[in-house]
Symmetry: C2
Subunit: 472 residues, 2 copies
């Protein structure tokens, strides 16, 4: 049973928020006079999003039929085909594939890892190779372990301490940050740069604590990078629970060995595509607003929150415009970027082709922080633009969405090279759960709540609608 | 990979929020001068909550070892024992069981339901008896079906249309409400009053669409009530997907039959307990602040969000006070109420005993809306109190928690009968996911995010700390 006092309260809050709109006295004149009408349009986007199951079912199809769609795989090709068909069936003004070449890499099927301790015996641990790691090959690799929790700690070690051994990077994501993206930002150096830093000192392999905010049994993969001139070494990630276990064993048995086998192989570049659909602008068809997510996802994951959901939201925004019968003034594009996770070639090619074709890009929004309940919509505006943005806040108050500064991302970022004044936008969802799932097998369709994802899509549609109509 | 521009933005927001505290110029003098110090205390609660796994592990134990702990069951007794031991091990000033008598009811093990249509064949559907429904008995019940979507629609039917048939209540929870508790409040009459209204018109049974905001295969149970003078009829709920299916079949085959068998039995009242632990106040030990959740959960559910999480949060608040070395001025109690789901006897007895013993209750907070990310903390204060509450808002801004009006609940509610001036408080978490899980087998421990639950506990601790110290 639930608390009826609070139900009434929530209703009151809803009513209150709508009423507030009538009393907004400090807004620019044009926006002020438009607010009542725009309240109805925005509410229309949300009503349609909340009652529709189309995007949710499309996300399910994408997750269940193209799981593991890292660039260069047949699953990635299937995801291109699916979203291409999806947009082809929407009566958009144009839908096309934009060819790119992507790197390719295969995990191999012989992954295993274990702690071998005279004191504690042999314990297998959940693990996987980091993306683009070299493999150990069939025989595997066995060596003593040096644990470090920071780059400083590693750098203070002598080559003698590291040579011939496995470096175990074990800096947990900080729990006391309120923004889990900050914790990720602080800890992810281990995954991207740990192996090359360990190799510089003569390590033979590298084991890295998974970049998870939770304590669980899922290994979380992600890209690692090698430097030319430093011999690459095999890099493995183990689950956070396994990392805690290994650390506790090491404290009592510094002579233990770690064994792992990975048979991953890097292949030739292969062709792939960005998938693009657009509604032509009625007044400024040559001025383009891009909304995008990335279609690729790690090979061990359904990629529901990262970033199938962001792709499906982008398509949903176009559907919401169509359903509302709104033809935008500017051209609005949904772009499924290929290869965000590895080399961002989709984003680079999209920007390059835009420049070659002489397109005019005025704004770009990327949804790549999961599709949880939206907390904020963000714009990288100048002070004048941020003031204008603030005038729209009352329209978003009923949905508990703040308008704030921020935006951009790895895929739309390259547009800045060709369009220095482009306005970047973004969506910031609740993030407490995101890094439990990020780059892991736990990022499944079942972790997505339909209403939360749809509120995100409706929020993006509302912001884009207002920007398209009034500018900033 | 993630968007580093946004990471920086989030950090900036964190820094900005803390900085804002320094510039709060419109606050009452006492609070204003205290804010910098209280910022540290509040941050301390959050830091401890976010780094501790104790409450989370306790919730796991409760969910996995006392699933189905509806009042009167051995599982409920086990939950009493567990939380009693838990608080006994915390060095609290007092821990005790408060005896109550509760109703008892057993589902029986022969539940089944199917649609029998000449046109579509026979289709089994996910179902369960409503709580405290009578059973059909072993032979089951088979009858034609009349579908209604509102009470008005039912009342317009003649007895002749209803007599001897099964009434199928099929009003979906409204998707366009932003507050899902509002949708629940609007639709739950079908479950609580549908069977008795159908029986008045001569129905032989009642099938009710599950109170779920999602479209899925989980039946969601919950209490139903019979009126004296109206012959009780068996009442069954079917999943939302099954309800959609039945409705679509009925549209094409109005002569189909519905068969269901339920063997539930209502038993004698049995003894049970509320579980109470307290930290004695240093200045006003006789003035009591209650924080509570309900320990019982539906028999088909682990009761993670409803309301194991609320219980564990209440205990966690005491632990956070202990860990911070804060002895409150007033006595603070954590109460695990028994029997919220059926007859609220735990809440009634708690209030009655308080009155008998001449206790002075000044405030009570109930956490019974799930343990998702906290959006707001609420107080049912008068305008003066709400103004004072607003002065604390800067302390909660870093955590995205609003201070608002509301509070109370089914368990603390009866205190109002004896303490008319008692201040009710509450916590309002994100609610988009709650009614996917509510009263169903899907409400598992795995649906709880540790950080979200812990942020709720820290939020409650902070509000109670401020209220205990400054009053409202």
């Amino acid at each position: 049973m639930v608390n009826f006092t609070n139900i009434e309260t929530m209703k009151m809050i809803d009513i209150f928020r709508f009423t507030v709109l009538a009393f907004c006295v400090f807004l620019p004149v044009e926006v002020k006079s438009q607010l009542p009408a725009e309240t109805v349009v925005v509410r229309g986007f949300f009503n349609e999003a909340l009652t529709s199951y189309e995007a949710y079912h499309n996300l399910e199809w994408l997750c269940k039929n193209t799981a593991g769609r890292i660039c260069g795989t047949p699953e990635a090709a299937e995801a291109v085909e699916f979203t291409h068909q999806l947009m082809n069936n929407m009566s958009l003004d144009a839908v096309w594939l934009q060819p790119i070449m992507v790197k390719s890499w295969k995990r191999g099927d012989k992954e295993e890892a274990r702690i071998v301790s005279e004191k504690f015996g042999t314990v297998s641990v959940p693990s996987c190779a980091l993306g683009w790691s070299i493999g150990t090959g069939d025989p595997g690799l066995s060596a003593g372990v040096v644990e470090v929790k920071s780059l400083d700690e590693l750098k203070k070690k002598s080559s003698k301490e590291i040579e011939g051994r496995i470096v175990f990077f074990n800096q947990p994501m900080k729990q006391t940050n309120l923004a889990t993206f900050s914790s990720y930002g602080e800890a992810v150096w281990q995954r991207t740069n740990g192996p090359v830093e360990a190799a510089r000192l003569g390590a033979v392999g590298c084991v890295i604590r998974s970049m998870s905010i939770g304590t669980d049994d899922f290994p979380h993969t992600g890209i690692t990078r090698y430097d030319e001139g430093v011999k690459p070494i095999p890099a493995l990630t183990i689950s956070t629970k396994a990392a805690d276990l290994l650390s506790s064993y090491l404290a009592l048995d510094s002579k233990l060995f770690f064994f792992f086998r990975t048979t991953c192989l890097t292949g030739q570049d292969v062709p792939s595509s960005n998938v693009i659909g657009e509604i032509k602008g009625s007044e400024f068809p040559d001025e383009i607003i891009t909304i995008g997510g990335h279609l690729d996802a790690w090979d061990i994951s359904e990629g529901a929150h990262d970033d199938g959901g962001g792709c499906i939201q982008s398509i949903e925004v176009l559907r919401l415009f169509q359903k509302a019968g709104i033809r935008p003034k500017h051209t609005i594009r949904a772009v499924m970027f290929m290869d965000e996770e590895v080399a961002q070639r989709g984003g680079q090619e999209y920007a390059k082709q835009a420049s070659i074709k002489g397109e005019k890009h005025i704004a770009a929004l990327e949804s790549d922080r999961g599709v949880f309940q939206p907390k904020a919509l963000a714009v990288t505006g100048n002070p004048e633009q941020m003031k204008n943005l603030a005038a729209w806040q009352p329209l978003f108050d009923p949905y508990d969405i703040k308008l704030t500064s921020g935006g951009g991302g790895a895929d739309v970022g390259p547009l800045k090279n060709f369009y220095p004044t482009i306005l970047f936008m973004g969506i910031i969802p609740e993030d407490q759960r995101y890094f439990n799932l990020h780059h892991a097998a736990s990022d499944t369709f079942e972790q997505v709540d339909r209403r939360e994802m749809q509120m995100g899509a409706a929020g993006i549609a509302s912001l884009i609608y207002l920007y398209d109509k009034y500018g900033l």
